[in-house]
Amino acid sequence: MPNTRLTDIDWNAAVAATGAFGGRGGGLSPGQAAQVLSLSALYTSDYPTAAARLRKAARLEPLNPLHMLRRALLLARFGDTARAFAALDGLKQALPDSPLVEYVRGLLALRGGRPEQARAIANTLGAAYPDFVYGKFLRADAQVVLASKLSAVEKLLIALPHGPQYESLWADLLTKVTLLHPQGGPEQAEKHLDKKIRAGSPADAAVRRALAWARASAEELEGHLERERPGSRAEEIILSCLFERLERTGDNTKAAGFIAALRRRHPERAALRRIQSAFVARVAVEKSGAGDYEHALRLVERCLREQPHDQLYHQNRAALFTLLAESGPYFEAWSALNRHQYRLMLLGAADRFTVEQIARGHRLFAQQAQGSAMAGAAVDVQRGIFRRVPSPEGSDLKPVAVDRDEIAADPELLRQWIHHTRAELVFRHFLLGEDPERFLLRPRDRDESGARADALASCAESLSTLVPEEGTLLARLLTTRWRYAAARARTRYAAAGPEEDDEDDEVTQLRLHHLELLGGLALFCLQWQPGPQQLTTAEEMLSFVRAEGAFFDEQILYRVQQRTEVETSYPVLVLADHIRRVTEAEKGAALMPEQRDAVTQSLMADLLRRMASSAYEAAGASQKEQVNRAMGYIDRARACNPADASVELSAARFLVVGDFHDEAAAALKRFHRLVAPDEHEELADAEQIEQILKERREKEPSGTRRRVEAAEEPTQGESEYRIADLERELDRAPGSWRLYEEMVQELEKAGRFQEAVDWADRAVAHCLSRALQMNARALAIEARALQSLAAEHPRAARLYPLGAREPARKALESVAASRELDYTLLFLLGRCELAAGSPAQAREAFGKAAARCERLLHRAVLRHLTDDIDNAYLAVARASVNSSLQDGSVDDAVRAASVVFARLQEPAAWLVDFARVFYSAALARIGASQAPQPVPRVACEAPWQGRLNAALSLEGEVERALAVAELAGELHPPSRQQAQAMCERIRSLKHQFAVTEALNAAGRLLTERRFEEALAMIEGLEPSVAGEPRFLRLRVLALLGLGRFDEADLLMAGADEAAGLRDFVSGYPSLVFRQRLTAAHRFLQDADVDGAEAVLQGATPTGDKEAADLAYCRAFALTMRSRQLRRQRREEEARPLILRALDLLEPHLRGADAGERSHMVELYDRLEKESEAYGRV
């Protein structure tokens, strides 16, 4: 067995040495390099890196199956057992005789929750390879998971081999027996323990620990828990024992309480949260079962706060709102569930459970919209878009039809069916994996693969309809994946036969589902007459039909028709009939791609023809315009099915009405060419139209020609797009007051006052904190006021949300002259007065409004405003001052703020805001050369006026801000806390100013290399300023500049990686090395070899290049010293120095770049010559 030192390997360095990822190459053979790459994947915690290394290894050694095995193990290690299993299936074909591959398959089946499969694989292994011991242990392992009785396990345990080499496997089995079967398991494990595992061995110790956990009570488990590290696997096992222990008591409430107490004692153990939520969820299940939905909902909300990622909590919440029949929250909860699920998928949590849950949710909504008629119910238990119609007498048929009334009454029901059905399809295809053969349902060739991938992409558009942003992202991701996979599809030369379907039930079921869907869509195309308001929904229907057309497969239809055990559904019969009419093919005959296409195109043409009639009815313009619009649909129908006589007849009808005589005549001509002779009704219609055409031609012989219009696109202003955005945002954050406020304003700007009122009311329903509730109610009153004002003064009403209050005030005055203002208009007037800086008049208006208001919700707001007009005015004044500050008009802001005092009943309430103005002004002037302006004298009737003016006369805005804030804290108790916070901020700002100034000064001195002065300046700073970590950097730099390296090192030894210093600390070793090297070169320039050597003594290179530079500098010093000695005729002493210098340089020559290290080579050559001169070769 390989030794354990592999964990100590620096795998990144080893991989770099393979040269595979741009490394240098480290003398490893290609085989070794592949092994290093592939083995390193085991020691890498980052999946993409590990996978990339395995891919690279497989490229280096394509015939080595070990890399494939490791890839499967890697996938399993990261939890993707499904893909791991698929990878092993591939490997099994390559290595059919390897028991190891089968063993790993079995192991992964067990880990993936399929113990029966694991047991079956282990049994096969046992039969085929009786000596393969691991297979026997796997068999027992699976049995431990499956067994309800321990006797079945015991039989297998007795037959297993034992010995030191199997101790770890025995420990594994016995621990599982102990923990998975707490009733009797520990005794059974103990019976084997002494015989199969050596006493005192690590395996023995591990099993004994598990035995202790299995026998401990819930209270005792707490003691065991304390001995384990939070987040460790041991902790997780103990918690699973605790869960089992508490579950056994049968009292979930008590269990949740026990865990809550445990959490309070062990707040560091995050895993306890999960176990507590599990018990709370169980209580919620109990409450819900007892019909106490509100209590259950509270508990589920609690779980959701604790474990927001658990999709079942989101689902429970949606279920409870459904059971509570709360319409708004119901809709939003299901929407939130989908959003959460899509997010999980975007984050990579696309496991089978999650995806199946998503598909189920969409199916539920689709089924609800569809109603019970399609499910074969005898009566319509639940009405939907389809309805049952009476069977013809003597027939077994169970006909269904499109329920036009139901769709007309609730048009969104049809959209619900379309989008949830399409979304369900998307996820069901996703569940079929990445093999195009499966997820594209056995396409015949690449064209069909491409068309089906496009169809899936079209269906995926519904995801963005259902969940705007996440749905769009997910759709994009899936579409890319499908298109990529579709390009790899192979051409099959025979249609998929029934035997293939038998093999893959999942694929077959989906093919049948597509057939049923196309049947349902055929009913729509052939029967539905969309209302004039439903044309957009009809477009969505067309898109669905087109997508479904790509999956149309006549072979599955024939197979369905041949079945005797299940009745063929009515929509499928309708579809079959339509196919026969369109293709004229015999039953059972294979269709050409063109014929298949014609089936869906003709269905679409039928629907487009009906849409044309609706478009004609819908248009509120001139008759010609109406005809033009209807003909737009007719032209599309013609393009879909040029051989449809009914389309031509409809065209002729519209064209005659529009006086497009020539075109009408041409349409009639085409009709006669296409119509079947037995279509008497249509022929009679045509005759009638011809007659009308003749009469009209007599009146107006020339007629007119149709104007070919560009496609009419809805024009949307910027505001419309913003409204759409806001709607999406509010969908995501339905409690956001800011969004409601903006939405209402945008709607008002667009003149959509009724919608503004609706949204304001929604704000009242969703913004539930006291402050936000008052804001929302005020918004609702204002929206109503503007709606009312707009009736007489639309311009003033639309200018108001833009911030122009004066036109509204004037308009209100003119309205007031003719009639009494209602409470909403009085409220609006009050608002205008506040904006004009007249709080007294505003108070009067609000008071009158309160007296006239009969709505309790609104009256509370009006009374609040009347009672506390100062507060309302303060908000307006704050907004006005903020607006000036945001515009950069600091002096305007100061002036505007100065006049507020005089308008307030309690002027001291404004002091803290006044301080804030100076604080903001000080911030705004940082880096600006402009000096602060003197403040105008503040006039207010308060005893502290003099103190305020004294504060304002101080020099500098920071000082003024501080003095005013201190005054606010002293004079206005409600503002005290805010004032204190403001004082702290101002003092902090002062401190920052001082620090910045000192840093700039010291930095300047360093730049000018005036190190002594910089050091003196830093040391002379106030302790509060000098304590700033950035001064440490400057001090160190000054010391380095002075060559006082040891002192600099000492300072840095105590430096932590405080914010702002992290880069400096990490870069310091390299910096100090370069400084030492520079100093050494300077000494050498002065021929001071001693000095250079002393400096270099402490130099530590941090990389190859620095090591080379150091070697060069030392060698140069040695060379100089040897020359000095030679000059003194001390040849014997000089020679060893030359040899030492050569030794220093030699290791660095190989890697020396010709250009970069030429000096090194040159020095080496010189030294070598000198050495030769001494007789060295």
Binding site: P2, I9, R77, V104, R233, A318, L364, T1102, M1120, E1162
Partner: protein, 196 residues
């Protein structure tokens, strides 16, 4: 293809039907009077019990055969795991409109706990031991490691690891104009020294 007109952007929002989702009582769970959260074993046992009672009633002449047939039909739909899975897929309301226990409970399913035990033991016993986990070195290198490879890897052991060198540019001092001494400077420097 004639179809190209996109839908109105205003329409591209989640459909909001006037109708509520509702739990239809026409389902096997409701007919049997059992929660959709009950285990399949519990359901099968209940069906068996009710069927026995119905049979006894029939023998006494007090029951109807339809009752037994009804129970048989329910058993076919939800009395076996595979059939029940199909039924639940077809009728998602039973799963989705019932308050479910936490997903976290999946963590404590026997097969998951079994996997957890192996992972824990692998840490406890040391990575050289064979434990059935996808992390086991014994599975990654079933024939052991080539000695030459181990030797090659030894130089990447932690004790031999290179310093690495920080890439981050240090916040440094301005240059003082000092230049690196070059071999060509040697003679000049020595001469200057001699002159001094």
């Amino acid at each position: 293809m004639a179809e190209s007109k996109g839908a109105n952007p205003g329409q591209k929002k989640r459909p909001r039907s006037k109708r509520f989702l509702s739990m239809s009582q026409d389902n096997s769970y409701a007919h049997l009077g059992v929660s959709p959260l009950a285990s399949t074993e519990e359901i099968a046992a209940l069906i068996s019990k009710l069927r026995g009672e119905a049979m006894r009633r029939i023998k006494r002449g007090a029951g109807k055969e339809e009752e037994v047939l009804r129970l048989d039909r329910i058993h076919e739909e939800i009395g076996k795991p595979a059939a029940r899975k199909r039924y639940d897929e077809k009728h998602p309301q039973n799963v989705l409109l019932t308050v479910q226990p936490s997903q976290a409970e999946q963590t404590w399913l026997p097969y998951r706990r079994s996997g957890l035990v192996s992972e824990w033991l692998y840490e406890e016993l040391g990575v050289g031991e064979f434990v059935p986990t996808p992390r086991c070195l014994g599975l990654w290198a079933p024939g052991g490691l080539d000695e030459e490879l181990v030797a090659a890897l030894a130089r990447f052991g932690a004790e031999n690891a290179e310093g690495g060198g920080a890439d981050a540019p240090p916040q440094s001092l301005p240059g003082d104009g000092a230049e690196r001494v070059l071999p060509s400077d040697l003679e000049r420097l020595l001469k200057e020294e001699e002159d001094v």
